[in-house]
Amino acid sequence: MCLAIPGKIVKILNDHAIVDYGEGTAREVNISLVRVKKGDYVLVHAGFAIEIIDKKEAKETLDLFKKILSEEGE
């Protein structure tokens, strides 16, 4: 139920947008819960984009992993 799929906004149509999930799959989703522009990556749940994922945040994951793995558990 809480499954959300990442995809890329390829066209904005008022409160909807075409989201490309890759490999030729595209679908219209409701974007009223996020402020997005063409080219943004979003998480889509039940036909709605619920959050934007950006490259900076993906890099933060990597930084977080490096930081935590460098700490020694006692």
Binding site: L3, S32, L33, H45, F48, A58, L64, F65, G73
Partner: protein, 359 residues
């Protein structure tokens, strides 16, 4: 480039977890986490490292009560169109499932989301269309967005939305199992952020990590929990930083607040949990099917619908047993002929266990 199935990274994290050597008991509350754990064999890897991870009440379809399904069945029998998610339609209740109703000729529609249900209402102006609105905080704002957008008058919802933090508190208050930490659901947290979990660590001194859904995410989250335990510093940490921020999705939170009030709610397998449910505000009564069809639904309210005989989904949702502990598992209860909801839903632990490790 970070690769979330990176074997070398996975081995590094697992090595750290193994070297810790403590026996620990964690709970997650998300079917997608359960899927990742079982599909990739992480559950076995963790067990061999002394770590047990159970799935709590983290499956919206599973915690929906028989009464809520009966409400839909009754309304379908009165000629209304009932729309909901595919899994929900297959959950058996006292009078069969909504799918059984469909086989009998009643108008039951499977939809991908609430917007599909609104479109059914637009195409069928002479019929009443009821959307069974199931789901946690991830799904609730999608319902809000539609309600605020003034859907047609022949559309209404049967609100079954529930909220996660109240259930976590109840698990701890019930005290049926000793927990060393919670793995918190990533997509619920994209909406609510990290703050609503904080009182749990503060009041119950229990570590929490919000986790993503890749194998590396879960390994990392377990390691983060272990470190909190070792440092005796229970708090909320966020492993899923690429999608979750501290404040969550503020637009989603605003529309939830505009449309819903918090209500006490019964969850399958649990007593009524205070302020754990959402119901539409009075100003949206015309979209609240419990208000619109109050007279028709009145008879149900007085009856209690028991869970199916022999079904142990309730104990499973409280983290007390594994699917294999249930004598019905894989014998009388299968995905083709499910008895309890945990075997129906692709987020239910029985369905996941049956799919990946039946034997």
């Amino acid at each position: 480039m970070l690769y979330f199935k990176d074997k070398v990274l996975a081995k590094t994290i697992l090595g750290k977890i193994r070297s810790n050597g403590k026996k620990l008991n964690f709970m997650h509350v998300c079917g997608t986490h359960q899927d990742t754990l079982v599909k990739h064999g992480l559950d076995t890897l963790f067990e061999n490292s002394g770590i047990n991870i159970c799935q709590g009440p983290g499956c919206p379809v599973c915690v929906t009560t028989p009464l809520e399904i009966e409400e839909c069945i009754l309304l379908a029998k009165k000629g209304k169109i009932i729309a909901s998610f595919g899994d929900m339609i297959r959950v058996p209740s006292y009078n069969g499932s909504l799918q059984d109703m469909k086989a009998e000729g009643y108008d039951i529609r499977t939809v991908y989301g609430i917007e599909d249900a609104v479109n059914i209402a637009i195409k069928n102006p002479s019929k009443e269309v009821i959307f069974m609105a199931v789901g946690f905080e991830t799904t609730a704002p999608t319902t809000s967005a539609i309600i605020l957008n003034e859907p047609p008058e022949n559309f209404s919802i049967l609100c079954c939305h529930r909220t996660i933090p109240a259930a976590l508190k109840t698990i701890l208050e019930m005290g049926e199992l000793k927990l060393d930490g919670f793995i918190e659901p990533g997509h619920v947290s994209t909406i609510i952020g990290t703050k609503p979990y904080e009182f749990i660590s503060r009041e119950y001194k229990i570590p929490q990590v919000i986790s993503g859904f890749e194998p590396i995410d879960l390994l990392m989250s377990v390691w983060m929990l272990i470190q909190q335990i070792n440092k005796k510093n229970a708090k909320v940490e966020n492993e899923y930083v690429r999608a979750v921020n501290e404040n969550g999705n503020l637009i989603a939170q605003k529309v939830i607040k505009e449309t819903f009030i918090q209500v006490d709610k019964k969850w399958r397998g649990f007593p009524t949990i205070k302020k754990s449910g959402l119901e539409l505000r009075n100003k949206f009564d015309k979209y609240n099917c419990r208000k619109v069809f109050e007279e028709e639904l009145k008879t149900l309210k007085e009856k209690e619908f028991l869970e199916p005989s022999g079904c142990r989904c309730g104990e499973l949702l409280r983290g007390l047993i594994t699917p294999q502990d249930c004598p019905l598992f894989g014998i009388r209860c299968t995905p083709e002929k499910p008895i309890g909801p945990c075997m129906v839903s692709i987020e239910g632990s029985c369905n996941i266990a049956y799919m990946y490790k039946k034997d």
